[in-house]
Each structure stands twice: as C-alpha cells, then as structure tokens.
C-alpha cells in the first residue's frame, strides 16, 4: 500500500492520459443531463476506479472517454474530453482506437470470433497488418491475459473469467495504452476476479493506464490508485483510494459499500480513543493495527463462547420439503454437472448455495422445479418425485427466479408481468386482482403498474422478476444470483425482501457468490464443488473453516478474515462473523 501511495506522486509527474474539462452530457430526449460538469485528469500509468450507484453515469462516462458516446447515442454535450491531447469529439474513432480501448460490462457481446485466436486476430487483421505481425500481436495479447495455449478453443466452451480475459486480449491486440473496463468483476466468481485482477496489475506494470467502474469495494482497493465517486451525474468524491474509503458516511450516502475493515478500525479507534494516522483498507493493515493496540496494552483479545449467529432460526421439529438423493446430472453434451448430491431442505429455512462458477449450483436448483430431471437419483418436492410432474405443476410450489431479469420479463407493463404468471394458474379475476396489489405493495413497486419493464432500473427489474414469482404464492422461492449487477442499495433491498418473505413462512434458497450476504441472511450454507456438496451447515460452522474455504476459492468477508488472522496470531480459538462480534471479543477486557 505504501508503495502505491508513493507512486501517486510520481504519477502526477507523468503525462496526462485523459483530461476532461467541464463536461456535461444529455442523452437525446432526456430531461436531465446524465453527466454534469465533470472535470477530471487521469495520469499515464494510473489506475482510476469510478464508483457510484447504478444510474450514476459510470457507463456513460466510459463511453464518453472512448469517443463512442456521441457516435452511437447522439445527444448534446458541453465541454471537452482529451485523450492523449486529442479531443475525442474532433478525432475520428479509427484514430482513437490505438490510444484507448474499452471492455464492456457484458463482455460476451464484444467477442467476435468463434475461436480464441480468431477473436484476438480480428482487430489486428482489420488494421491491415501482415500475417506475421498479427501472429505476434495475438501471442502477446494472449500472454498478457494468461490465455496462451487456448488459441483453438471455441469461445462458447470458455468459462466466464476466461471470456472476460479474452475480451481484454481482443482490445489489447489493437495496442491501446489506455484501457477502460466497465464493471469487469460483476459476472465473475472469486477465482475469476483474482485472475482478472492479476492481469490488470500486470498491464499496469507495463505502463497501461486503466480506468474501471466497479461496485465491489474490496476489489477496487486491491487495484486502484485513485477513486472517484459519481452520484447523479456529478463527481462527488475524488481522491486517493485511502482518502475516499476513509469517508465512510459519505460513501454510504452515495450508495457505495464502505470497507468492513475501515469501519472496524474506525470503531475500535473511537471506542479506545486511540489516534489513527492511516485508516486501514485491507485485512493485513487492520490486523497490524489491532495487534499494535494489543501489544501496547490498550486492547485485549477475549476468548468467548459465541452464540449461534441466528436466534430466529426455526427450532421446532421441521419437516423436509425438498429431498435430493444421490443426484447425478449429465448434460446432453456429456458434461457431468452433478456427481451424487444428497441434500435435505427444511421448511422455513433460508438456505444459501455457494461455490465457484461451474460447480453445479444452477444445475442443482433447476432440479427443484423440474426444469432438469435427474440422470440418476431422485429429487422429491413435498414427497412428489419431480420426474412425475411437469414444470408448470411444480412451479406452483417452487418459484424459481433466474439470474438475469432481462430474460424473464415478457410483457408490456409491470402489472401485466405479474398477471402473466397468475393467468397460467387459471385463477378467478378477483383473486388475480388481490394478489397483484398485494405483491406490488410487498415489493415496493406500487405506482409503477403501467411502466414498461424495460424502463425500470436494474434493481427494480430484478424485483419485478421476483414479484412475478411471489404472486404465484409458491411455498419455496429459489433465487439464482439475486445480486449480480446490483449496486449496494439494490442488493440490500432484494435481500431484505427475501428476509421478509422468509419471516412470513416461505422457504428461501439463494445461489450466490457474495459471501457477505450469506453471512448476513442465511440460516444454512451448502458449498458445492465439482458437482458435490463439500460443506453443509450453519454459517458459523462453515465460515470458521477459513483455510478450507480458501482452498475452494471462496474468500470469506473481510471481518471473518480479520478475526481468523487475529485468532491465529493470538492463539485463540474462535472466529467472529460480524463487526459487532469482533468488537465484542476485542473490547471486553479493556485495560
């Protein structure tokens, strides 16, 4: 971290990669400008992170910097943007592409070739380079993203992380010095994110300027030299990563998730009245900070028996509602997705299924409503074998919400969308009406009845997809990746809604990569790995096995890591799961 701050000052001596001067932009037909009076300088070799809630203008800014905005969307603008001294509005796009490249949030859309080599060679071939030179560029680009040896792989057989890296390679092959990445981590699992981070670090070392938008604060802190926060089209925070992340209250106000470690350090500093020179922004720093306080006799680490994390966990005799026995599933193309899963889901629980991409999570939940039928083994829902009924019949008991709401909304208005499911159930009109209004109220979509689903924000669309399932009143609600592409507030909204439903007696099953929400909401966690369940238990049991989680490429929330590191350093044996728990164990025996 120190070396990063040292480089900050040297960066300023470097040339300017980008200068934005009083830039304001309005989409055609929009009432409000999407970007307002932006002033920003990005230095060569710098990693700049643009943060902010959905709709703040992050993607618009990315398109503006790369010159794509006016070219593809039109609209009005004031001010100017210079890339390497050239105004993007007065330069032909063909000239800009060798200075600046962009990787879209939906990176799959920018992969053009069907095989890896075809794709990476597309740019250089368009530039009219000789075959030898193209070969060299392809090799260089693939080496930079660790995809050498993948040349002849077909794109649709790559994992999400590999595709993301391929999209980066495709841009690198055109050799721009500035690379813009729009939410590069939103669709990746932890392993994929680590791979992309290491590649971006490598690109930085060889002198690239990197601009990325991101919601994930932990990843931003690993990478960025500087952070700006956009809110309603304005730059509201701009400073070094440490400066910006130390402003916890402002971050919360602008819908950016603060770091748990910073909150923890600040809490400790306040409670013990110790001065704090530099707020920690990663787990090692906060551990150092705490150890220093312990060594100075200001803090004492207490070994306490921790209570179960969830007091409202259903204690009564629970009945099994889903029973999976020795489930195997092989896709028609021969890919074995599940290898003998045994699982019981109990009535009223909030279950989280986690695991890397490709571990079989989605395959497993598709068995719960009969979309997939076992190749071998049995899945019973309320005692009924799923092979013996249709998906439509099961959909009344098990509601399944998919990952991307854009594939689930079919109708012209929010109301119609909810009615769509109910019509399939042949309910009387009065019943439909009452259910629609109840669901609209519950999901806070009242007032949007006649809005076209596509005009809703991402988090509202996700809520609508959920609403259309809730309306069917299934006993079990299964949600695949409820937080993908959601900002901090959107994530909280959806999870709070699921919690409310759970308290009303629904059984909730979620599939997620976000271990923070697992910790906060789930009663029980199941970890899938290579088509098998490797861990199953309450969050406290599962999350205390930190080394095992790390082996499975699942990184627990920062607070858990801090607690784990502390307990190992101080040879105590308990792992706290939340900020409050860590604070309790630390402050109990204050000297």
């Amino acid at each position: 971290m120190e070396c990063r701050e040292a480089t900050n000052s040297t960066l300023k001596e470097n040339g300017e990669a980008i200068r934005i001067v009083n830039f304001t932009y309005k989409y055609p037909g929009a009432k409000e400008p999407a970007l307002k009076n932006i002033n920003l300088v990005v230095h060569e070799g710098e990693v700049l992170a643009i943060m902010g809630p959905n709709g703040a203008g992050k993607t618009t800014l990315c398109y503006a910097i790369t010159g794509l905005l006016l070219h593809f969307f039109g609209g009005e603008y004031y001010g100017d943007i210079y890339v390497k001294g050239k105004s993007v509005f007065n330069t032909r796009l063909e000239e800009l592409i060798t200075d600046i490249g962009i990787v879209f949030q939906e990176y799959e859309n920018q992969i053009i070739g069907s095989t890896v080599k075809d794709d990476v060679s597309f740019g250089p071939l368009n530039l009219g380079l000789s075959r030898d030179e193209v070969e060299v560029r392809v090799r260089e680009a693939l080496k930079a993203v660790n995809l050498l040896g993948f040349e002849h792989r077909e794109v649709h057989t790559l994992s999400g992380g590999e595709k993301q890296r391929l999209a980066i390679a495709g841009v690198l092959a055109v050799k721009p010095k500035i690379i813009v990445l729009d939410e590069p981590f939103s669709q990746l699992d932890h392993k994929g994110r680590l791979e992309v981070i290491s590649i971006l670090e490598k690109l930085k070392r060889i002198g690239h300027t990197i601009i990325l938008t991101e919601h994930r604060s932990e990843e931003v802190c690993k990478l960025a030299d500087r952070v700006i926060v956009l809110y309603k089209g304005r730059v509201v925070l701009n400073g070094s990563t440490r400066e910006v992340f130390s402003k916890i209250n402002l971050l919360k106000r602008y819908g950016v998730k603060p770091l748990q470690v910073t909150e923890l350090a600040l809490n400790i500093a306040c409670r013990v009245g110790a001065p704090i020179e530099r707020l920690p922004i990663d787990t090692d720093e906060v551990v150092d900070f705490i150890i220093k306080l312990v060594n100075n006799g200001i803090l004492k680490f207490a070994s306490r028996k921790l209570k179960p994390h969830y007091t409202h966990y259903p204690k009564t005799e629970r009945s099994t509602i889903i029973e999976v026995q020795n489930l195997h599933y092989t896709y028609p193309n021969g890919v074995k997705a599940l290898n003998g899963v045994n699982l019981k889901v109990y009535e009223g629980e909030f279950l989280a299924i986690i695991g890397q991409n490709g571990s079989g999570k989605t395959t497993l939940i598709k068995h719960f409503n009969g979309l997939l039928k076992p190749t071998h083994g049995v899945v019973k829902v309320f005692g009924i074998d799923t092979r013996k009924c249709t998906v439509a019949q099961l959909s009344r008991i098990v509601g399944l919400v998919f990952q991307n709401p854009d594939y689930q909304l079919f109708t012209k208005s929010v109301r119609d969308e909810i009615v769509f499911s109910l019509k399939n159930m042949d309910l009387p009109r009065s019943e439909i009406e009452s259910r629609v209004s109840k669901v609209l109220e519950l999901t806070e979509l009242k007032g949007y009845e006649n809005v076209h689903p596509l005009l809703l924000s991402k988090s509202e669309r996700q809520k609508l997809a959920l609403a259309s399932i809730i309306a069917m009143d299934p006993k079990i609600i299964v949600v695949d990746e409820p937080t993908t592409g959601q900002d901090y507030k959107g994530t909280l909204h959806i999870l709070e809604l699921l919690k409310k439903l759970n308290q009303q007696g629904k059984t909730i099953i979620i599939v997620t990569h976000d271990l923070n929400i697992v910790l906060k909401y789930a009663h029980r966690v199941v970890i899938l790995h290579q088509g098998r369940i490797v861990l199953d238990g309450p969050p406290r049991d599962v999350f205390s096995k930190v080394s095992m989680l790390e082996k499975l490429a699942l990184i627990p929330p920062q607070v858990v890591l801090v607690s784990y590191k502390l307990s190992r350093l101080l040879r105590k044996n308990n792992t706290s799961l939340t900020l409050e728990e860590v604070l309790n164990t630390l402050l109990d025996y204050r000297v």
Binding site: Y63, T66, L68, H71, F72, L93, E94, I97, G101, I102, F104, E108, N109, Q110, I111, I112, S114, K117, D118, S121, F122, G123, L125, N126, G128, R131, V134, E135, V138, V155, H156, G170, V171, V174, K366, N369, L371, T390, V391, A392, S395, R396, G399, L400, F402, N404, D406, Y407, Q408, L409, F410, T411, F420, S421, N424, M425, L454, S468, I469, M472
Partner: protein, 263 residues
C-alpha cells in the same frame, strides 16, 4: 447449425485440405445424380458408407439423421411404387392401384441419392473446422461483408441458443405448460413473448456489437484475409487426381449410356 458440428479427430478426412474435400463432395454428388441405375447408385452409396466409417463419424449422429429422414424416404419409395406408370406389377391392389417394381426401384434410387447427399455433407462438416470453411470462402473470392456476416452468425448462434433456453426455462417456471400438446395458435401465442425477449436483447446486443466492431477497427472495405492458411500436401494432390479421374470415367460412362436404365 451444421458448421458448428465439427468433431476434432485424426482421420484421413480430417487431414485432407478443404479444397480436396470439396472436390470429393462434388464428385460424389454429381455421380449420384448422373446415374439412374440402382446398381450404380448402390455402389456410390456403399462408397459413402465407407467414407463415413473412415472419417469416424459417431454412429449415434448417423442414426439421428437417418431417423429424421426415415419418413420422407418411406414416402418417396411408397409414392413412386404406387404412381409409376406402366411398370412391372408386383402386387395388384383394389381400385386399379398397382405396386410396381420399377416404381420401387426409382424410389430407392431417389432415397439413396438423398442419403448420399446427407452423409457426404455430414462428413464434410464433421471433419472441417468452421475457420477452414471461412478460408475456403475467402479463396473462392466471396466478398468480405458476406464472410463477415457468416462469422458473426457463427459466433452468435450458440449465444442465442443459450438465451432461448433461459427464456423458455423462465417461461416454464412461470407456469406455462410447454410440455403439453397445444394447437398451432396456442404455440404461436406462447412463443411470441419468447421471441420478443430474444429480439429486444438482440437489438441491445447489436448496438454493443457495433461499438465493439468500431473499437477493433472493423471496416467493410478493409482487405481482410483469414489468419490461418491451409497448405496442399502430396496426399491432397493425389486425392484430387483420383477424384477427377473417377469423375471423368463417370461422365464418360454416362455419355456412353451406362447406368441410365433403372436396372
């Protein structure tokens, strides 16, 4: 999509140059159309079966194609058997309908011809990776914009297929009974929303695609060339010579009037 059916293996057909394979394909199909005789056609059919064996196309794929073709094949043979005018009668049915031997033979000729066409093109697509096909099109001087459209289509078809599966799954999960039998009207009504979603997502994607193409320097006027080149080997020259000889002999026999009669 047939072009995506390539299965990597190490057989004679996999090693052949695409042009050699094209010559082989044309030779076999031309010969199959030149002759009417069931004997000649059977020889060509057996040769095709041998090629299928050599190229090690999985048996289940062949069975799958055969199953799709079975009904039309039976129909062709049956139709010809019943409608062939003045043929040698095998069975006389009531109402003056006769099953004729000549009709059956003609039907079988058509059937074999169809199978030869399907199986040879199967061998071609299963042994030729799509980028070789692109290279071939380039060599045949097909204009770049057309090749480009094919490239994009090849890339997007698996994506669209995946999307369609997700959308249909989402519909089923909302209680749409897709598994039951429906009338055409009901089916259309069910698929319209599905198609709408595909279309809307497609439009959104096409805008991103246009941007992606721009940042990667795409220009329909560029002098594009494929990245991989394929070279002709000795076996290709020998194979092409062999095929051309067979074709010439075939044409000669045809001109001489061989194989024009049904039997």
């Amino acid at each position: 999509m047939v072009l995506l059916d390539y299965i990597p293996k190490n057989t004679f057909f996999h090693k052949l140059n695409t042009i050699s394979k094209l010559v082989w394909l044309i030779t076999v199909i031309v010969l199959a159309f030149l002759f009417n005789s069931i004997m000649y056609i059977s020889i060509i059919f057996v040769f095709t079966l041998i090629c299928l064996g050599v190229s090690r196309i999985p048996l289940d794929k062949i069975v799958q194609y055969f199953r799709i073709l079975l009904l039309p094949l039976v129909f062709i043979v049956g139709y010809e058997a019943l409608t062939y005018p003045n043929g040698r009668v095998v069975v006389a049915l009531p109402y003056g309908i006769n099953v004729s031997l000549d009709g059956i033979l003609l039907g079988l000729t058509f059937a074999f011809r169809l199978l030869v066409m399907v199986f040879t093109s199967t061998i071609f697509t299963y042994t030729t990776p799509y980028n070789r096909v692109i290279t071939l099109l380039f060599k045949l001087r097909i204009p770049y914009p057309i090749i480009f459209i094919l490239l994009i289509a090849l890339r997007y078809i698996p994506l669209l297929q995946r999307e369609l599966t997700i959308i249909i799954d989402a519909q089923k999960s909302r209680g749409v009974e897709l598994e039951k039998f429906h009338s055409l009207k009901q089916v259309l009504k069910m698929y319209i929303p599905v198609m709408m979603v595909v279309l809307i997502n497609g439009l959104r994607r096409s805008q991103q695609l246009a941007m992606a193409l721009t940042i990667r320097g795409f220009n329909p006027k560029t002098k594009w060339k494929p990245i991989d080149e394929e070279c002709m080997k000795l076996q290709d020259y020998l194979f092409i010579t062999l095929m051309m000889t067979i074709l010439i002999i075939g044409v000669y026999l045809y001109i001489q009037g061989y194989g024009s009669r049904l039997w």
